[in-house]
Each structure stands twice: as C-alpha cells, then as structure tokens.
C-alpha cells in the first residue's frame, strides 16, 4: 500500500511540560500564567488551553528544559495561581512537528496507533494551519521519528529534522 505523503518533519530541542488544572476563577488562567512567564522572559513553545467539563480548566505548556526550576518556583509561590489549582510537571519532553499536505485526522490516527504499539507516549497535541505537533518523551524522540519515517513518505529534499540554530530573544545587544 502506498505511504501517505507528508510535507516535512521537525524535532524540538529538549523541553519540559507543565499541566495546570483547576476550577474557573475570576482571573483568567492563561493570562495570569503567561504574565508570570513574561516576567522571567520565558518563552512558551507549545500551549493548549481548554475549559473542560465539570468547570475544570486545563492549561498545558512546554518551555525550554533549562527553565524548569525557575518556572516551578514561580508557579508554586503563594498567590501565583488561584486557590486549589494543581500543578503537574514533566521534565525532558520533546515536540515532533509534522507538516501534512492533507488528511490531518488520518495522520493523527495512524501515529496514535503506531506509537501506542511501540509504547511511545503522547503528552499533548496542537495543530496550526499546516502542521500537527506531538509532545512526547525526549528520550524517545528519535524512536518516535523513526516510526513516522517508516509510516509516511517524506519529500526527497527534506530539511534537517533537528534544528541547527537555537534562537533566543534578548533585550540586550551584545558587542562584537
């Protein structure tokens, strides 16, 4: 059977993930947490937010692994989050982003089946206009990538899987 075609594949650097969960509060959680992270100049590379059933809201985000301790500290500080909100964190995660031409649901289903068969976990998913991003264990990211490469047909002139450049934002201009 012909392999489904995808447009590309990309791996993130090493990240960590935070899941915040709690009841609806007067202060909107995504706004509150993004403000806290801005105060430490921490970028959220991945974010999902949804008010689930039973009034529970969940905010999940991924940041660089080297910001894990700083972020844990600011979130756990009294008053950072509304009362009763749970914080669950997970170190050493990575994101695999797939650029599908089409058939996003089919691609999603095929990956769920194949990763489950190889005990590769999914910790989060988000789509953009042309891509699907999966959060998984960073230690399994190469194995997860191999599974995808076996399942789908990539373009011959495919770009490198791993980013060769790490971009950082700064408000200080370094001299030569």
């Amino acid at each position: 059977m012909a392999k489904l075609k995808i447009g590309g594949l990309k791996q993130s650097l090493e990240l960590c993930q935070f899941n915040l969960r709690g009841l609806d509060s007067s202060e909107e959680i995504a706004s509150k947490v993004s403000k806290l992270l801005l105060s430490q100049k921490i970028n959220m590379e991945f974010l999902t937010y949804y008010p689930h059933r039973n009034s529970y809201h969940q905010l999940t985000f991924c940041i660089s692994q080297d910001k894990f301790s700083t972020t844990s500290e600011i979130l756990k500080k009294e008053g950072s989050l509304p009362i009763g909100w749970e914080i669950n964190s997970r170190g050493q995660v990575g994101i695999i982003t797939i650029f599908p031409h089409q058939s996003a649901i089919k691609i999603l289903g095929v990956i769920m089946v194949s990763w489950a068969a190889q005990s590769i976990p999914i910790y989060g998913i988000a789509t953009s206009l042309s891509a699907i991003s999966f959060v998984t264990d960073y230690q399994l990211i190469d194995k997860a990538t191999d599974v995808i490469q076996d399942l789908f047909q990539l373009p011959e002139d495919h770009a490198p899987l791993k980013s060769e450049i790490r971009y950082c934002q700064s408000d200080i201009v370094k001299g030569d």
């Binding site: 899941n19 969960r21 202060e27 909107e28 995504a30 706004s31 993004s34 403000k35 992270l37 801005l38 100049k41 921490i42 970028n43 959220m44 590379e45 991945f46 974010l47 999902t48 937010y49 949804y50 008010p51 689930h52 059933r53 969940q58 999940t60 669950n88 982003t97 089409q102 058939s103 996003a104 649901i105 089919k106 999603l108 289903g109 095929v110 990956i111 769920m112 089946v113 489950a116 068969a117 999914i122 910790y123 989060g124 998913i125 988000a126 789509t127 953009s128 206009l129 891509a131 699907i132 991003s133 450049i165 790490r166 971009y167 950082c168 934002q169 700064s170 200080i172 201009v173 370094k174």
Partner: protein
Amino acid sequence: METIAVYWEPRIKTYGFQRITDLALIEFSCPLSKIKPLGEILSQDDLIVLRPKFIIAQVSNHEISFIICLPLKESKDFHTSLEKTSSPTLHKYIHPVSIIFFHGPHFGDRYGIANATFSSLSKAGLKIIASGCSSASVFLVLAQHDIDKAEEILSETFEVAK
C-alpha cells in the same frame, strides 16, 4: 549554534489575522490505555474527507481529551460516527464557533506573545473557548459572536506588518 534576536517593537508585529467561521467544536476523551483503538477509529478511510481547522489534545488523570473544530456539516457527520462507537466518550458539541489565528516572525522562539494575546482578550472580557499555540502560530477558538471584537482587540495589541 545559538542566534540571539533582539526585538524593539512598541507593538509586536504579526503577519495579520485570519479567521474561520461557522465551525463546531467537539470534545471527546478516552483512557490513555485505549489510545490505540481510538487511533484506529480516527485512521479509518471514511474520515479522510474531514478537514479539521483546529485540533488539540490534553492529558490528565490517565485520560486524553481531544478538542476538534470542524466545518458544521462535517462536524455533524463526525459527531454521528463517534456516537455509534462505545469509545471514545463524547462530552461537548458546541456551535457555532469561530477561529481567529495569526503568526509572526519567530513567534515560536519569543517570550511575551502569549501574554499579549491572553491579557488583552481577558481585559476586554472575552472568553476563550480553546487555544493552541505551536509552530509559531496562535489559534483562538471563540463564540462566533465574539470574533469581531476579538479581532478588534488583537489589532490594537499587535501591529500588522505591511
């Protein structure tokens, strides 16, 4: 290699706002132990016609929840096909909803984008139904009647690059 980018922007620049209207949001979940059977359902050939505009999945308490936005007609068919299965469990079917999305230079690598987005909408009293930010894009799902106001607020917060 590390590249440091310095941005001096009175307002964060974006390439512009796009919207998709007349959608329905479907939420369903299954235990993590049942992710493989759910994948088998989603990979069926009769679902290949679906063109989801937004998908997120979140994990908590050994369960994975999916939130998918589809055009109204497709959403009815998808909802009906899920109802016929014993798993996953359907939770919400909301319509009409709209999506507003945007991206900008190195949005995936820069701090402050999420704060500018969520703070401005929160201050304006707009309720976000769902959001997903990945690959340098920000996607927001709102009630259809809130979409004009959301674009107005975001246009004041961000500068559309010319």
